[in-house]
Assembly symmetry: C2
């Protein structure tokens, strides 16, 4: 249209008003965000925990691993409990051995093995790998995937784990995933998210899909 | 010790009891898990949404992208809202242009630009890229990072977005992240997780860390 009707004129005025209100709201938001940023100026290695029953705990850990790799940071992964079937994330990350060191505990989920003594020995061997990374400042970010389950089942001592975490290099980040994170570990962490399920495809008869769940 | 004391003998008995109870509990769990797996046998492309105020939404999306890449699946990423500063995930994934097509809307957060008209035009251009991927069955998994924010701010029409999602190839997976996912989108999704913050390093004066938050 080349000619403006009175209606479109008034609509244009209304749009201007909406844009102006948006601008004012975003300017206030920017002040709040800038102020928060000004207050948070400390750099240090952080402990991030993702727990809860929802989907996304391990995925978010692997997302942080590749994010760190994008910054040229050396990463390490120790997978607890999982491991009978190679996952997509394992296959992918093993392509970059100098950027990401990948250790899998093996033997699959504990309800497949049903052997507590063997599970404990495997968890302890996996923690030895984790401890080695925690003592090596060349690792900028390490992921201990499903560690919470090993702690919940009592396969590892939570106080030993926390002591090893606290003795790590000052700038090293640690990401820990799995359901049922113990309270003592949550207390020792900097950032904790509970992944709360709203709905899951599995409940609707859709099985685990490559790329999404494995 | 080569000789066993009565005490260690009784402790060994107790351990045997614990192991036996563990085995029985895990055998029951295996039955439940196996039964659930037997019921969930359908394969199809799923819509996964990660929303809420906690850390891990975008990270989990990028975790699924690399998980899919590990299975040799072609992936696509469209980032809405974010983009003023290149992130670790962008730098990393741009190394694999034949495995992951990466599109960033650019211009940074909306409270930086404070210009609603420009934000809408940019969101619409980004959705054009998303729609192109949704019409191309060569993409096995696509990530629309921070799309929920563009919907929440009214930059895109949720019904148009849902119609484009529902018209996609049957086996294509879609991951959508960002705070404030609209209810209509949640209703259209297969798996939805609310990432609930328990604590965050930011509140303790630690600023965003490379590899963890960006």
């Amino acid at each position: 249209m080349t000619q403006e009707s009175p209606q479109s004129q008034s609509q244009s005025d209304a749009d201007d008003g909406r844009n102006e209100r948006h601008r004012a709201r975003m300017a206030r938001k920017k002040e709040v965000v800038d102020d928060k940023i000004a207050q948070a100026q400390r750099d240090c290695g952080v402990i991030v925990i993702t727990t809860g029953n929802g989907k996304g705990k391990s995925s978010s850990g692997f997302g942080m691993v590749v994010r760190a790799m994008g910054h040229g940071m050396k990463t390490g992964v120790v997978q607890f409990i999982k491991g009978a079937i190679p996952t997509g994330e394992e296959t992918f990350l093993r392509r970059f051995p100098s950027e990401c060191e990948f250790y899998v505990m093996g033997e699959g989920y504990t309800w497949e093995t049903q052997d507590r003594t063997r599970d404990i020995a495997k968890a302890e061997a996996a923690w030895e790998q984790a401890r080695r990374m925690l003592r090596d400042p060349s690792f900028a970010l390490v992921l201990f995937d499903e560690l919470n389950i090993a702690l919940k089942l009592g396969y590892l001592d939570v106080n030993t784990v926390i002591a090893d975490l606290q003795a790590r290099p000052a700038m090293q980040h640690v990401v820990i995933t799995g359901r049922g994170a113990p309270q003592a570990l949550i207390d020792a962490a900097d950032t904790v998210t509970d992944m709360t399920p709203v709905k899951h495809a599995f409940a609707q008869g859709i099985r685990a899909q490559a790329g999404v769940e494995m």
